[in-house]
């Protein structure tokens, strides 16, 4: 089974960034509307590109033979759950995946677990040469996971006001099939 992916139609995209907001919220465990601003995990995994010629969100293509995964020195990136996924506990933040991705679709972001920022084991920041233990948050690779485990599929597709995003998948004969978002709604 090949991976699905979300692609955008730049002709329809109006650059409103609603998808970014939806992505951020979908991957945030806390209550977005009541939590303290500094504690919110808001790290969208897609990035709306706006230039004079084009506006469109760019996100992971879920490559079958993912360059990010090949470049990862700690094997934290693998092809799992129908998408290219990051094991954030293994990631050490070496940033090579950011260089490896041909689409610039992978980013590093603070790691959250159970709604809390994960601190580094013992990163010592030097102050005048004296190492001190300082709780610096872990920063790890963060990328589109097709909203794995989310009822209703990718949040970005759901919220796009111009329906410019779609999930692309394959049928049994490996032909590309577009799932219209209407179909998706029926499923949910």
């Amino acid at each position: 089974m090949k991976n699905c992916l979300v692609v955008a139609d730049p002709n329809k995209c109006i650059g409103c960034r609603t998808c970014e907001a939806a992505c951020g919220i979908a991957h945030s465990e806390g209550d977005f509307f009541t939590a303290n601003v500094s504690k919110i995990n808001f790290n969208p995994r897609l990035n709306v590109i706006k230039t004079a010629k084009v506006s469109a969100p760019v996100q992971c293509r879920q490559c079958e033979d993912a360059p990010c995964g090949k470049a990862c020195p700690v094997n934290a990136i693998s092809n799992e759950n129908g998408c290219v996924s990051v094991d954030q506990d293994l990631c050490v933040g070496c940033k090579i995946c950011m260089l490896a991705c041909p689409f610039g679709a992978i980013e590093l972001a603070s790691q959250y677990k159970d709604g809390k920022l994960v601190n580094q084991k013992e990163l010592k920041m030097s102050e005048e040469g004296n190492p001190t233990v300082n709780g610096k948050g872990r920063v790890v690779a963060n990328k589109c996971d097709l909203c794995h485990g989310r009822d209703g599929g990718p949040a970005c597709i759901e919220v796009c006001p111009t329906k410019s995003l779609k999930l692309v998948t394959y049928d049994d004969n490996h032909n590309i099939v577009e799932k219209k978002d209407e179909d998706q709604r029926e499923v949910s």
Binding site: P67, K70, A71, P73, V74, D89, P102, K121
Partner: protein, 251 residues
């Protein structure tokens, strides 16, 4: 503040050790048991210098002598040279066959006949500086320490038994100034301090590069599972180079 070392004015901070200041100013003071990484021990006493404070001179070990006022330091006059020669002579008596001590003996002009007066143990290489025990303690393993006193003093594991704490990292051998600690790597096994360690093989080149205990210690410190495949440092470099190559090919 300023202190004078061998006539040269040197900037110094209060509490800095004389040896530190001298090194920074390119003034050479011989040492044997000094390591930049571990606190001074003043055990070999080669680093002795003369500190002159208001006309009164005293001999101190420069590696642990902190400056507190603007003094004058002499590192290499005849008196100190003579004293150092005696110190090296005694070191040579303890470690007659040791290469490092021998080198010092040559430089300081220690006469063979003065060494020969004593009963010598050609097997002895340890000068009892205790750097190895310090290093082991720093690591948090504390597998070795100096035991007994006086002429029976030595560095050993508790009760001379193989220490359960020892991870076979050989840091002790690295810091030892006289190469007195034997590390034998053979057929995928390391022997050190009477303990045998199984070594880990590089998944790529097959070379044994660290003990199993050391690898476990390393990943325990990180708090992650050790990876299935372990590689030696040079194979890791090769793989990294290959990975980078493929990134640039994709681009």
């Amino acid at each position: 503040m300023k202190i004078t070392i061998d006539g040269k004015a040197c900037e110094a901070e209060k509490g800095e050790f004389i040896l530190q200041i001298a090194r920074r100013n390119n003034i050479y003071i011989p040492t044997l048991c000094h390591s930049d990484a571990l606190p001074g021990l003043a055990s070999c006493r080669l680093c002795i210098v003369k500190v002159i404070d208001r006309g009164r001179a005293k001999i101190v070990t420069s590696c642990i002598f902190p400056v507190s006022k603007e003094v004058e330091v002499v590192t290499n006059d005849d008196e100190i040279k003579r004293m150092r020669k005696n110190i090296v002579m005694l070191l040579k008596v303890r470690c007659p066959e040791n290469k490092e001590v021998d080198e010092l003996a040559k430089v300081f002009g220690v006469e063979e006949k003065r060494v020969k007066r004593f009963k010598l143990d050609p097997e002895e290489n340890c000068v009892l500086c205790g750097l190895c025990a310090k290093a082991c303690k720093e690591l948090g393993t504390g597998a070795i320490s100096t035991v007994n006193r006086g002429m029976y003093k030595e560095v050993a594991t508790p009760y001379h038994e193989p220490s359960p704490e020892c991870i076979g990292c050989a840091s002790c051998a690295n810091v030892c100034p006289t190469n007195a600690i034997k590390v034998v790597d053979k057929d995928g096994e390391r022997k050190i301090w009477g303990k045998k360690f199984k070594m880990v093989k590089c998944d790529l080149c097959g070379e044994y590069f660290a003990t199993e205990e050391h690898v476990k210690y390393a990943y325990d410190r990180l708090g992650v599972e050790k990876p299935e495949k372990l590689m030696c440092s040079s194979c890791k470099k090769k793989v990294t180079a290959k990975d980078i190559k493929s990134i640039f090919e994709n681009a």
